[in-house]
Amino acid sequence: MAQGIWIVAEQREGELKKISFELVSEARRLADKMGQPVTAILLGSNIKEKAAELGKYGADKVLVADDNRLATYTTDAYTSVISQLAKAQEPAIILLGASAPGKDLSGRLAARLGVGVAQDCVAFSIEGANLVAKRPIYAGKAYATVTYADSVPQIATARPNVFEVSEPDESRSPEVVDAEFSLDDSQLKTKVVEVIQEAGAKVDLTEAERIVSGGRGMKGPEEFAILEALADLIAATVGASRSAVDAGWRPHSDQVGQTGKVVSPNLYIACGISGAIQHLAGMSTAKVIVAINKDPDAPIFTKADYGVVGDLFEVVPALTEELKKIL
């Protein structure tokens, strides 16, 4: 019978991503309820030394697939290796990150194994032998609680920044095992020929702890400089509403909302954003929301923990100055 929870750890250029620790921590909590082990799957090149770190967060075992063709994520190589391991060892549950690679992989892996996948989940529980997953739909205008039928393993992806990372236990050390797999070059049909890092190497919106976002009220692209200054001070990433993106003031990769990124930072500061429903859907799971807007009737204030009715061109620079005193 299928047993155990697997998590697929995520690394970029040999460094484990935070989502890996979120996944291990959550898997540990679920596995303790089921009385089952947690296995982390770690794919990469010369990656074995990172295995111990996963153990501290709760992995009993780390299965390491080390191959230079696994250094950078590709759909074909990762699907091939993970599906081989899953078929051989039959885990009950596989959790991945709902990150760019995780979301690319989950549907392919699920189809190869002929099972279901619950994408971009924000809460998990166990009922009997089944994983129960809660996931936003309509970008968070509603939530669907789903489970699986005739699906072994049960695959789910976890939204980054949502699941709490446990305190690492330095005394734990996992069993580290070299995974047995084969990779045939003829199966690898896509090739990553270049990796372009975004200028400034800012934290991506979906992973950001803090976001400072601007909307139509910013009046133009140059004015975003005051948001950049605040963001630099508090280590935040700058986002934008759809109207600011559609006006060409910011790149589409900055857009927060239903046709942009759905974000869950600790702090979200909305500046000159009225709060169209499709924007609110994308940011309402932020832990603390601040709205700065001239219009006291702007819908954004219904979601805000702290609302400032005022001129953002005065309030934002003043806030930056005040925070300099604190930090």
Binding site: A100, A139, S151, P251, T259, E322
Partner: protein, 264 residues
């Protein structure tokens, strides 16, 4: 070059979402149905490739009769023909089931590329594209913001958005691409386009026509079952930050964020 575009019809993003009394679906009365925004980028990209390399663009939709409107919109933009799979057994079909239906349609077609939106803005699964690529046995590049097809039409170079950057990925055709916002600026259908679209072929197929069994789709075939749909948790009412001047407001906000919310 023959290109297939898979599209979905979804509630407009400005829609308020209300949950049905059974708690398992949303209320669809008064919903304005539109082509899934990400699928518009897929249709536009297909048309641009066709304009450069020739060939035919075929639109494939799965769902009730109203999905015809979204397919006709794509035809009015310039696509050549449409296929709708409409069957009473379909409601409740999950992502893998939908991918199986699309794969069954596609197995009888000749194609060089399949384009999909990166996800439906209704269920937000982002699974059908990659599952379909797997069932077809072709490579995929998802969440693409830039796509170049080689002069001889044998290869693509696709820019895939990842956290904090871009992967540039090469693949030989046939390939499946999922479209992200930024890939292009979709055209509007012209009036002559709308007139022409009315005469373009639109085939309607049932599950049986595809050689599938009704048990493979709908709730009976679904690997993912909806237990319940719930509204988002209400946020507690916030407070308006007091202050006579912008400076006072800013000082009070800084204090609240630091001392009360402990967010800074």
């Amino acid at each position: 070059m023959n290109i297939l575009v898979c599209l979905k019809q979804v509630p407009d993003t400005e829609s308020l979402i209300k949950i049905a009394p059974d708690g398992k679906a949303i209320v669809t009365d008064n919903i304005k149905w539109v082509m899934n925004p990400y699928d518009e980028y897929a249709v536009e990209e297909a048309l641009r490739i066709k304009e450069k390399h020739g060939g035919e663009v075929t639109i494939i939709g799965v769902g009730p009769k109203r999905v015809t409107e979204a397919i006709r919109t794509a035809l009015a933009m310039g696509a050549d023909k449409g296929i709708l799979v409409d069957d009473p057994a379909l409601p409740g079909t999950d992502s893998l089931g939908t991918a199986k239906v699309l794969a069954a349609v596609i197995k009888d077609l000749e194609y060089d590329m399949v384009l999909c939106g990166k996800q439906g803005v209704d269920d937000d699964y982002a699974v059908v594209g990659s599952s379909l690529a797997e069932l077809l046995g072709i490579p995929q590049v998802s969440v693409v913001v830039k796509l170049e097809v080689s002069e001889d039409g044998s290869m693509v170079k696709a820019h895939k958005e990842v956290e904090g950057g871009t992967f540039v990925i090469e693949a030989a055709l046939p390939v499946l691409i999922t479209a992200q916002k930024g890939l292009n600026e979709p055209r509007y259908a012209s009036l002559p386009g709308i007139m022409k679209a009315k005469k373009k072929p639109l085939d309607v197929k049932t599950i049986a026509d595809l050689g599938m069994d009704a048990g493979e789709v709908g709730e009976s075939g679904a690997k993912i079952k909806i237990i319940q749909i719930t509204p988002p948790e209400e946020r507690a009412a916030g407070k308006i930050v007091e202050g006579e001047t912008s400076e006072e407001q800013a000082a009070e906000l800084a204090r609240l964020l630091h001392e009360e919310a402990k967010a800074i």
